[in-house]
């Protein structure tokens, strides 16, 4: 079976349109993010959260009232998929008789007869929260840096730069998507937590994967078509790898979709983030990373002549 015949699409010729699409999306996303703020989870925020499951469905209002009475006015109460599952969260975290105990006492005292089970309790101190935040940023920055260095060694610096800008683009797009979806579909419970961080780093790894495979083909084709313009060589390479790109992205997207649908509450944010990442990662490999290499050549180096664009072939 074959889904794709030999294609010959002029991807790079339309790069200005795609730049625009990306920029618009990022601008919208950043605006939403700016207005709404980043939806941070307990890991990065610090505080106490407790997830309870009542034996029978209850009214949120009742739960809210009981929390107000227990001294937790305006506590964040989220329904977790059903009218019996709730996540209660507060930025507070005490020593001694901890906040989680007080919350439980509040439920017991004010909602007598409503039996429930504690599914999980998380308490993160402000220092740990700050540290996790810091580590998350470090993790993203260092992995981008690591990839930049490795690709600069394997290809040329321009390619490494193109790839990393593509990755940065993916991260921005995905953050934007998370912010937009969180604003439109709050029931998805999207928020930045440790799992989301894992999703971001995996999407970086996945997206660079895609980019590298296209670059690898460019590296090979430049040797074969020494007298052609870089833009043509790149177009040829993108077309040659297109079938693989779509199939791989398709299967990975399929697995992530399965995680999103069947993986449960805990993995949902992860799966969503990564699903967005797969799409933008594939898109950026074709339309951003390669385009940037071409534009860098054309505008920064003023290099429009045929046959002068060699990648580092000695190490391939």
């Amino acid at each position: 079976m074959r889904l794709f015949k030999q294609t010959n699409i002029d991807f790079l010729g339309k790069r200005k349109i795609f730049y625009l699409v990306s920029i618009i999306f990022i601008v919208v996303g950043m605006t939403v993010l700016f207005i709404k703020g980043i939806p941070l989870g307990i890991d990065f925020l610090g505080g106490t959260e407790i997830q309870v499951k009542f034996d029978n469905p209850i009214e949120v209002g009742e739960l809210r009232n009981s929390m107000d009475k227990a001294g937790f006015v305006g506590m964040e109460i989220k329904s977790m998929g059903s009218a019996a599952d709730y996540l209660l969260r507060t930025p507070l975290q005490g020593e001694g008789q901890t906040v989680a105990d007080k919350i439980q006492a509040g439920i017991k005292d004010n909602m007598p007869g409503k039996n429930y089970q504690v599914l999980q309790v998380n308490k993160v101190g402000p220092k740990i929260g700050a540290e996790l935040r810091k580590n998350a940023i470090y993790a993203v920055v260092f992995s981008l840096l690591g990839i930049l260095i490795y690709l600069a060694l394997r290809f040329q610096f321009v390619y490494a730069l193109g790839a990393v800008i593509g990755l940065f683009h993916d991260v921005l797009i995905t953050i934007s998507a998370v912010a937009i979806f969180d604003a439109v579909f709050p029931m998805l419970q999207l928020e930045f937590n440790q799992q989301m961080l894992a999703a971001f780093l995996t999407l970086i790894g996945f997206s660079v994967n895609d980019t590298v495979i296209i670059f690898d083909r460019i590296r090979e084709n430049i040797k074969l078509f020494k007298n052609e313009d870089i833009e043509d060589v790149m177009n040829k390479s993108v077309n040659a790898t297109l079938s693989r790109t779509i199939i791989t992205s398709g299967t990975v997207f399929l697995t992530v979709l399965v995680l999103f649908l069947f993986g449960g509450e805990v993995l949902r944010a992860f799966a969503f983030t990564f699903a967005v990442g797969v799409i933008t990662g594939t898109y950026s490999s074709v339309f951003v990373s390669s385009s940037i290499v071409v534009d860098w050549r054309h505008h920064v180096l003023g290099d429009k002549h045929k046959g002068k664009i060699a990648v580092n072939t000695t190490k391939s």
């Binding site: 590298v212 693989r244 990975v252 069947f262």
Partner: protein, 675 residues
């Protein structure tokens, strides 16, 4: 073919290894399945009968993270402010307390060390650290340095205290880890009451010096317990201890002797704090050898005295193992060693719990005198492949608490190159210590932390200067541990909970079900797609996919890694990526065939040309995986780990396994359809 032979052998070896490593996990599941069907006595019998098998499978199985199993995860931080309050020489000074209270409210996110902040605040008021933490002659910088080491060492003490308590709490597979030099991560799987855990971890440690009961009394108490177990009255104790012991020795305990430690006046100068006054009394130092001999001789005598007092039961020595178990159930579990001249009971690790249960029985408690208690040794030694713990019989009332200890230091005795621990006491404590040691020469004194005996040295001489030396430790590590324990009694190690997560068992079960379902569904879907799209080639890739999963799980088991929910996600993702490698190769082969090359050549070229892309893409994934492992915590590290293992396994299966399968098929002249 030769090349293929090597590949085949390599593959077979790896698959065999993976299966070998995964067998305990399978066995463990079978066992819990079988146990599930049994109840009451049946399940107890099953556990006793298969104890060895159960233990082995439990050790080797893939461990499940707290998010899958339920349990409590706690990160502990040393409470520096509280520590500074506790070790201050002027605890009630209002100025100091005021400053410390202020410091407590300093935003915890500040990275400035508390000690620096305290110093600065004191300076504002014209005070120095020295006035609260040092002696008059001390240099301010030295005091600061000393405090800073004290804070650093607090974590080691805390780790030991926490470990000791968690061990006693009896959680299966607890994990206690020191991370980043200032935090402790405690993982208690299966525990569902965080409140209890909090109490367990945050209470103050209690170090005590308790005298051992003299051997004859101790043996008598044990005999009485034995009588209760046999069902006879207490007065009816007619067993000859000598024979009894001889017998138990014969059974399997010939080598049961823990190292004898001893306690004597210290003559060391450099080891201890500068300002402590020492009395050098070399004359007091008796030769260890002679005292030890005398000591045991004396005890042997007294023991034989008991023997003469008892009626003869000469058959005891000739009892079979089974008969011995019947007649002396307590001594069957708690073995004594006659030659040692002590009443230390040696208990196999597997019997420890049984002994604990016996000691908790009401009828047994009734025959234990009120001034006597039993306590376990912290250390164990190994005989015949099993760990042996020591059960000590102690006087219940402590002679002294660890508060009097001012300093302790482990060292190597320059005279005979053996590890020693020196300990100095406060003036007040020294007086008590002199009285205690003076009255108990040649008796043994146990060093007990939170109810567990860390060492039970023989007192060699009256120690008057407050400086004692403990010798006879087996290794420098052992000495170091004792140093930490002694300091734990002297110095507090207040802890605060920085992070706490608890997952109820039902959520864990739910997660594992959903995780496994999604993994399975994903695997099936991808496999189906591959067969539809690439036909035979897809089938080979699917085989590689299954082997890939086997490898990842095998590596997990061999590394004793923990499987977490994000770990399962990582596994699913690896499957997606594993497919990518094959897709890359197959597309390349199709391309080559498209340009008119024969299949054989196309396969070779396809693999060759795809190689550089595969390497580059895998290396970049490895880079992000390592960074994720480095900066992530807990479950996220589990994700990074399965991802990394998956990438490794993937490289092997895609490049080696599928390639040789193709090679063999082509050699046999088969046509391979890749769609």
């Amino acid at each position: 073919m030769k090349k293929n032979l090597f590949r085949i052998i390599l593959t077979v070896v790896f698959i065999a290894a993976a299966i070998l490593y995964l067998y305990p996990t399978y066995q463990d599941q079978q066992i819990s399945k079988e146990l599930h069907g049994l109840t009451g006595q049946d399940s107890l019998d099953y556990v006793t009968k298969n104890a060895d098998k159960i233990r082995k499978s439990r050790d080797g199985r893939i461990k499940l993270g707290l998010d899958l199993k339920g349990g409590v995860y706690v990160v502990l931080d040393v409470d520096v402010v509280k520590l500074l309050q506790d070790i201050s020489k002027k605890k009630d000074d209002p100025t100091l307390n005021q400053i410390l209270n202020d410091l407590r409210n300093v935003p915890e996110t500040s990275d400035e060390p508390i000690l620096n902040l305290l110093k600065a605040r004191l300076k504002e008021k014209g005070l120095t650290l020295k006035s609260f933490y040092g002696e008059i002659r001390d240099d301010e910088n030295d005091v600061e340095k000393k405090l800073s080491t004290e804070i650093d060492n607090a974590i080691d003490r805390a780790v030991e205290i926490v470990r000791n308590r968690v061990d006693q709490y009896g959680v299966a597979e607890p994990q206690i880890q020191k991370i980043g030099g200032k935090r402790i991560v405690v993982e208690l799987p299966g525990v569902s009451n965080p409140d209890e855990v909090r109490k367990l971890l945050q209470g103050t440690a209690l170090l005590q010096f308790q005298m051992l009961k003299d051997p004859e009394t101790a043996v008598k108490v044990m005999q009485n317990i034995n009588s209760v177990l046999v069902g006879k009255g207490v007065t009816d104790s007619t067993k000859t201890t000598a024979e009894l012991k001889k017998d138990s020795l014969k059974k399997n305990t010939e080598s049961l002797t823990s190292k004898d430690t001893s306690l004597k006046e210290s003559s060391g100068k450099k080891d201890l704090k500068k300002d402590t006054t020492k009395t050098k009394k070399d004359s007091d130092k008796k030769s260890t050898d002679t005292t030890k001999k005398k000591d045991s001789d004396k005890k042997k005598d007294t023991l034989s005295n008991i023997d003469t007092g008892s009626t003869s039961d000469t058959s005891a020595a000739n009892l079979s193992e089974e008969e011995f178990k019947q007649k002396f159930p307590f001594f069957y579990l708690v073995r004594l060693n006659e030659q040692s001249g002590t009443a230390d009971g040696y208990v196999r690790e597997s019997d420890k719990e049984k002994v604990d249960l016996i000691l908790k029985r009401e009828d047994v408690k009734a025959v234990i005198p009120t001034d006597v208690m039993f306590a376990w040794s912290q250390r164990s030694f190994e005989t015949g492949g099993e760990k042996i713990y020591t059960l000590y019989c102690l006087k219940k009332d402590a002679e002294l608490t660890g508060k009097v200890i001012e300093d302790a230091k482990s060292n190597i005795d320059p005279q005979n190159n053996t590890p020693i621990v020196t300990m100095s006491m406060s003036t007040e404590g020294s007086a008590d210590w002199a009285r205690i040691t003076g009255a108990n020469i040649n008796k043994r004194c146990a060093i007990v932390l939170d109810g567990v005996v860390y060492s039970a040295p023989v007192i060699r001489s009256k120690i008057t200067g407050g400086n004692s030396q403990i010798e006879g430790m087996g290794s420098i590590q052992e000495a170091k541990l004792l140093e930490i324990v002694l300091k734990a009694g002297a110095l507090p190690a207040p802890l605060k909970i920085a992070e706490e997560r608890s997952v109820g068992p039902s959520l864990g079960e739910d997660s594992i079900n959903k995780g496994l379902t999604s993994s399975f569904v994903a695997l099936v879907l991808v496999a189906l797609f591959m067969i539809v799209y690439y036909r035979v080639g897809g089938g080979v890739a699917d085989l590689a996919l299954i082997i890939n999963v086997l490898f990842v799980m095998g590596i997990m088991a061999s590394f004793k890694a923990t499987l977490t929910l994000p770990g399962i996600a990582g596994l699913v993702l690896t499957l997606g990526m594993a497919v990518d490698t094959n897709v890359l190769i197959f597309e390349r082969i199709r391309e080559e065939m498209g340009s008119g090359k024969p299949l054989r050549t196309a396969v070779d070229i396809g693999y060759k040309k795809a190689f550089s892309a595969i390497i580059d893409s895998h290396v970049t994934s490895i880079i992000t995986g390592i960074i994720l492992y480095q900066f992530g915590s807990g479950p996220i590290q589990g994700f990074a780990l399965t991802l990394l293992f998956g990438i490794g396994a993937n490289l092997f299966t895609a490049i080696v396994i599928t390639h040789f399968i193709f090679d063999i098929m082509l050699e046999k002249g088969r046509h391979i359809s890749i769609g």
